[in-house]
């Protein structure tokens, strides 16, 4: 059976939001996800910042730990020096090194979290 009434008016289906784009925070996350050139640049920047921080901490630890034997050998007096009745190397290796490591670790975590929150801000606000 065919309808005989007036032909229905044609309706155009279009997007009123064409060109508006998706929310940007998702689109940079997508850039990261889909390895576009832009996402690559963001990743490289984040990794470089984090790696510099890590290398700095490892370098500090290496200087402290690697330098201590050098100090002991270069200045023999430090090997027999006493602090509060305890020999200097025993004080450094037995006691002081532990709070030092803890303080460095705390500082590192704060810096690393700062890098990440800066990164999140950039990605979110772009």
């Amino acid at each position: 059976m065919t309808t005989t009434g007036p032909r229905p008016t044609r309706i155009r289906v279009t997007s009123s939001r064409r060109g508006a784009g998706r929310p940007t925070s998702q689109s940079i996350a997508r850039d990261l996800d889909e390895q576009t050139g832009l996402g690559d640049v963001y990743l490289a920047g984040l990794m470089r910042a984090q790696f510099r921080l890590s290398a700095l901490v490892v370098g500090l630890a290496f200087l402290g730990i690697g330098g201590f034997p050098v100090l002991l050998l270069a200045v023999p007096a430090t090997r027999s020096l006493t602090i509060l009745g305890l020999p200097f190397p025993w004080v450094v290796l037995g006691i002081l090194v532990y709070p030092a490591a803890w303080v460095i670790a705390r500082w590192y975590v704060r810096q690393a979290e700062k890098i990440e929150s800066d990164f999140a801000d950039v990605v979110g606000q772009q």
Partner: protein, 512 residues
């Protein structure tokens, strides 16, 4: 000695029962296979840090460090420093990315990063090997403790620990172990600190006499003990092994998957450094006071026993026996927690790589996770137990250093390059793992079976980390650069996931 053995046996039995009971309670909570592996990822950073501390402080820390300081002196203070700084290196190099990778075990990470079954297989073999190397001294330590406090034959202690560990791991999986381990840190700390404080007070009251050692190298740092000894090289090499080896120990990174996210993994590690630092203040006290009160041990007595011998030598009577019992219980807590942690990881790898694929083939895919897991738990304990029955014990801390060296020469380059370098290829990773494992194992093996050698040869073979680790890393880098075609697909996508903070919503993250 009779009361001493009764009290000490009571303490040891109590610790074993506690481990089993808490493990049994965990059984009711764990249902799915993922619960068995990573505690459902619901463990808070503080609990997790205590658990890491509890798992990490082994017989080598509780007995071995004091034994070596007693025996060799100031240069062995580097040992606990290295055990601790390993976590600092782990923190800054791999903690957060490893957690974000979402992998369960080291082989999981290796396969995920390099998209290669072959790399996974090599990593699995290494995990099992390193784990077994680490379990051997725990079983030997158990034998030592029970022989000293109860006079039973050597095989008893090792057997007890092997059975308890197999039961605890097989019954509850990791969720139970997390609670057990966290509790064990505090048991260990109390058990080693309380007797140490009492002994220190008594020492101060008696006028703080100096330790009685004729050998100048005991007092003076970096003094050669022989004509061609190279103590400075040995210290550096040991520090490289310990600082880099920690991240490659099978039971360490598994703990990181129980953190809720990358931030949690970092914060956990900071607390771990604090907990380890507090603990390691104590063992040198036993080493030094040992030389005050027991200047020489008979030739057939191992220095590892100094912690357990000191209370009776200083105080005697019921108090001395009580303190010995506390220390024996603490030492057993140390052994059990480390051994269960290591056995847990080895079990996970054996289960995933061998048992589960086999059961799936036999039963047509109907195999239940827990069954395969329990079979693997038994396998993980039997081999190192058999080894302890065959080989002569060397020092507890020396044996543990071997496991660290192999881990540092294999997994440290793989993890660090894998996390930070996008050009790592399959061929490069395999070459690095093989070269690192081969050089470390051969030089240590030669040193133990044919040595000890004199001079530089002896130093380079006995503590090879200083040359094995850089060699393995250079080989991995050079081979990677020469084989750009074997760069795994999806490297960048994975690196994005490893380094991007969780609050940024990545679709690739929902895949794990």
């Amino acid at each position: 000695m009779a009361e001493s053995s009764t009290l000490s046996l009571f303490a040891v039995t109590l610790v074993c029962l506690l481990t089993l009971v808490v493990g049994g309670l965990g059984l009711r909570l764990s249902r799915a296979t993922s619960d068995f592996y990573v505690a459902g990822r619901t463990v808070s950073p503080r609990l997790n840090a205590s658990a890491i501390g509890g798992e990490y402080l082994s017989a080598a820390s509780f007995l071995g460090v004091a034994g070596l300081i007693y025996d060799i002196g100031v240069d062995q203070l580097w040992l606990p420093v290295g055990y601790t700084l390993g976590y600092l290196v782990l923190l800054v190099m791999v903690a957060a990315p490893m957690r974000r990778s979402g992998a369960y075990t080291l082989p999981d990470f290796a396969e995920m990063r390099l998209q290669s079954r072959r790399v996974r297989l090599i990593a699995s073999i290494l995990v099992v090997g390193i784990g077994w190397l680490y379990l051997v001294p725990q079983f030997q330590g158990a034998s030592l403790v029970l022989t000293i406090v109860a006079g039973v034959p050597g095989w008893v202690g090792g057997t007890v620990v092997a059975v308890v560990v197999a039961l605890a791991v097989g019954a509850g999986g990791m969720r139970s172990i997390t609670f057990v381990q966290a509790l064990q840190y505090w048991i260990k700390l109390t058990a080693i600190a309380v007797p140490a404080c009492i002994l220190l007070v008594l020492w101060l009251r008696s006028g703080a006499p100096h330790p009685n050692v004729a050998d100048p190298s005991w007092h003076l740092a970096l003094t050669p003990r022989g004509p061609d000894d190279h103590p400075t090289y040995r210290v550096y090499s040991m520090m490289i092994a310990l600082c880099l080896g920690t991240m490659g120990l099978p039971h360490v990174l598994v703990r990181y998957y129980t953190n809720p996210d990358g931030l949690g993994a970092r914060r956990t590690t900071v607390t771990v450094l604090l907990l380890l630092g507090i603990f390691y203040l104590i063992p040198p006290i036993y080493g030094v006071l040992g030389r005050v009160h027991l200047p020489e041990l008979p030739l057939d007595v191992r220095p590892d026993s100094i912690v357990l011998r000191l209370p009776n030598a200083v105080i005697g009577g019921l108090t001395g026996e009580l303190l010995t019992a506390v220390l024996a219980g603490g030492a057993f807590a140390a052994l059990l927690s480390t051994a269960s942690g290591v056995a847990m990881s080895v079990t996970g790898v054996i289960d995933q790589s061998l048992v589960r694929p086999y059961l799936a083939r036999v039963t047509g895919g109907d195999a239940t996770g827990p069954l395969g897991f329990r079979i693997a738990a038994a396998a993980s304990v039997i081999v190192p137990y058999a080894v302890t029955r065959v080989i002569e014990p060397i020092g507890l801390a020396t044996m543990v250093l071997l496991a660290f060296t192999v881990a540092a020469a294999t997994f440290a380059p793989l993890l660090i390059l894998g996390v930070w370098w996008r050009d790592l290829t399959r061929a490069g990773a395999i070459a690095g793992l093989v070269v690192g494992a081969f050089t470390a194992l051969v030089s240590i093996g030669v040193s133990i079976t044919a040595g000890p050698f004199e001079g530089w040869l002896g130093a380079l073979l006995a503590t090879p980390a200083a040359w094995c680790v850089p060699l393995a890393a250079v080989v991995a880098i050079v081979v990677s650069l020469a084989t750009p075609k074997s760069t795994p697909p999806g490297t960048i996508r994975l690196l994005v996931r490893l380094h991007t903070p969780e609050r940024i919503d990545l679709r690739s993250r929902s895949l794990d």
